[in-house]
Amino acid sequence: MTQHHHFDAVIVGAGGAGLMAALHASQGGANIAVISKLYPTRSHTGAAQGGIAAALGNMEPDSWENHMYDTVKGGDYLVDQDAAEFLAKDAIDAIIELEHMGLPFDRTPEGKIEQRRFGGHTAPDPNDPEKRIPVMRSCKAADRTGHMILQTLYQNCIKQKVNFFSEFFVVDVLVRDNVCRGVVALEIATSELHLFHSKAVMMASGGFGKMFQVSSNAHSLTGDPVVAAYRRGLPLEDMEFFQFHPTGIYKMGILLSEASRGEGAVFINDNGERFMERYMPTLKDLAPRDICSRCIYLEVRDGRGINGKDYVYMDYRPETINRLKSGPGDKPVTREHLEKALPDVLELVRVYMGLDPMAQPVPIQPTAHYAMGGIATDVDARVLADNNTAVMGLYAAGECACVSVHGANRLGTNSLVDLVVFGRRGGKHMADFCSNAEIAPLWPSPEKDTLAEFDRIRAAGVNGKERAATLRNELQKLMTDKVGVFRTERDMAWALADIKALKARYANVKVDDTGKIFNTDVLETYELGCLLDLAEVTAAAALNRTESRGGHAREDYPDRDDINWLNHSMCYSTGSKTGPGLLESAWRFDKKPVSITKYQPKERKY
């Protein structure tokens, strides 16, 4: 039996964006529920390490204009500048608000929030205003800033008595005639379906980086609500732009924060050379992530990977940092300082690699990290049905959304800024919307399609031949090999054909568990279907964009092409609608103009 619930607003996902929205929507008077497939404190916001940018100017002069400029340039001018202005301005208020909520930021001797350098965050050089040099803008709590944000927001949700539905898996978002009416969710403990009928829905489900083999993403990041929106005919924006973070632990992909390089760590190749000096003479190792990842690939390709292999070193040793003068400020860096500034990162190296980063350099390689693209929204987090029309009552914020403040490449620390700024904006807007809107009627049995799909997975599973994990491994390897840091038409056409073949095999996946209680066998199969759909859109969008910009590097189109491609891509499904993974491989691309207000596109050099 399907259970029915009524709320003003339902928020899907309990990471930074969802919880920030929950706090603001409930403060605005809305009766809300947060639905998450994990317990809220398990959300991947908690894995964010280095910091959250805001031009507080606590350490040295800074301005929101600097932050906005860096964001626009970092995103290779595909950033919507109206949105980036909100990001940079609202960041200051949002960080102060987090402090007022109790967030334990690190402190300066005067007691203010302490800040540090991060890739691509700059201010004009006082001695040469034409030149931009690294600025301390990242607010932090050691290297567990995301953990502190997640904990603080969840604590405040408890204080405000927000309703949580933990371990509920959202499978459908009920949009018809451009009006959102709620969601369908599966209670993981019982496999029962729940129908949430509401005036508003916010999707805040995070990323979907589990489509890649070497990935910093959690197992749960499979993009299920993003696929639900796509199946309902809503466009996905800029899906070709996926960020590969330069410093994943070799082979495992576990992230070692960019804060490492903010504190002075450097990249070293097999010749012992600090190679970033050669590529980006000003910012060097603090160049943005897309650039660093490409440089590592080029070093490896030219045979300068360590021992000729597919990795380079990140060197944290104080003697290296002091010899190269790569640390912040003028004072020498000490081991004690690094241990205090980067405790979790250094522990990750010790636990997973079994080596001491204070004595040896650390093998790293680029790891799939962050989707710049996602569900298209406006600056109030309202989901768009096309280039101009918002869906009534439907919102999205955080990594699953595309505002677009990150454009073609996100700067480090700007993901946490995005969460709190647009979670907050969306939450406030949603509260206002709910105080005026009537609840839209549901059509009969809106959960029917979902029931049919789960019945199909179970029925096919009895005689299924292949395991979901086998297909998932193949998909992840394919995406890392063919739709990774560098891309070509040939590789992506290959990837699309292979994904189509995987989808055919997906229809016959074996399921061992026939029960109702905590059936993650069925859910992992469903999640694989979502990953297949999103991988297909990612590859198709990458094939579609015949230029190189930010995180999208085409070897067959090596230059940025502002004449033809200074616009967002919008991908619409045109295939017949069936369950995730079974969606017909058919889509259409449209273009959406970029908002350019302050900064005209220029060549991107650091």
Binding site: T41, K112, K159, D512
Partner: protein, 238 residues
């Protein structure tokens, strides 16, 4: 390396009582215990169940008993658990109702957590300049340890006092209370101390140190509990 896994299995839809499931897996010595468990779930028996998400020790989903000791399965390597050809015993956390296999009912744990007012309280006016409240680095350092907690329940479910009485709020909830009690910006220390002074509060702790040994974040849990006891005994927060 080849490893034998002995996993405590229980499916209430099928089994009258828990039983040991036996599996052989081939793993790299540097694989996580979680990787070995995924080998079973993904390639041998899809009905086997566990919680996991981040897979690198920060989300707190996969606390369980490995060879009789509470660990995060994603934060311990096989080479550090068992020799080549050896056996790894895997059980759900103790003292919690088992829902299925390694999945336990976390609701009582989160209820205890919520009972200690685990949120910041300060109703004084905000700074007039619209900026952050100031806090010295020393004052920030005072409650740092408790801020590391990821609510994985490894400490609480290793505690003999909790095993004896599941109503005891347990070490994790006390650590969370400590984080606010010793934050000089917060104003609700007294209320929290009153809660912890109750029958099921901090005095149930018998200083067994199991919690400190179990914590995957290296929080000195027993010491923090001791500081709360001292604050109650002396009426002072120093």
């Amino acid at each position: 390396m080849r490893v034998h896994l002995k996993i405590k299995r229980f499916n209430p839809e099928k089994d009258a009582a828990p039983y040991w499931g036996e599996y052989d897996v081939e793993v790299e010595p540097t694989d996580r215990a979680l990787d070995a468990l995924h080998q079973v779930k993904w390639f041998q028996d899809g009905s086997f169940n566990l919680r996991r998400s981040c897979a690198h020790g920060v989300c707190g989903s996969d606390a369980m008993r490995l060879n009789g000791r509470n660990r995060l399965a994603c934060k311990v390597l096989m080479q550090d658990l068992v020799p080549d050809g050896g056996t790894l015993t895997v059980e759900p956390l103790l003292g919690m109702r088992v829902i299925k296999d390694l999945i336990v009912d976390m609701e009582p744990f989160f209820k205890h957590y919520e009972s200690v007012m685990p949120f910041f309280v300060n109703d004084t006016p905000l700074p007039e300049n619209g900026r952050e409240r100031l806090q010295s680095p020393e004052a920030r350092e005072r409650y740092d340890e408790g801020t590391k907690c990821i609510l994985c329940a490894a400490c609480t479910t290793s505690c003999p006092s909790f095993w004896a009485n599941g109503e005891y709020i347990g070490p994790a909830a006390i650590v969370q209370a400590h984080r606010f009690i010793f934050d000089d910006r917060d104003q609700a220390a007294e209320e929290r101390l009153e809660i912890l002074n109750e029958q099921m509060g901090v005095w149930r702790c018998r200083t067994a140190f199991n919690c400190t040994n179990a914590c995957p974040r290296d929080i000195p849990v027993t010491q923090l509990i001791g500081e709360v006891k001292k604050a109650l005994a002396t009426g002072r927060l120093d």
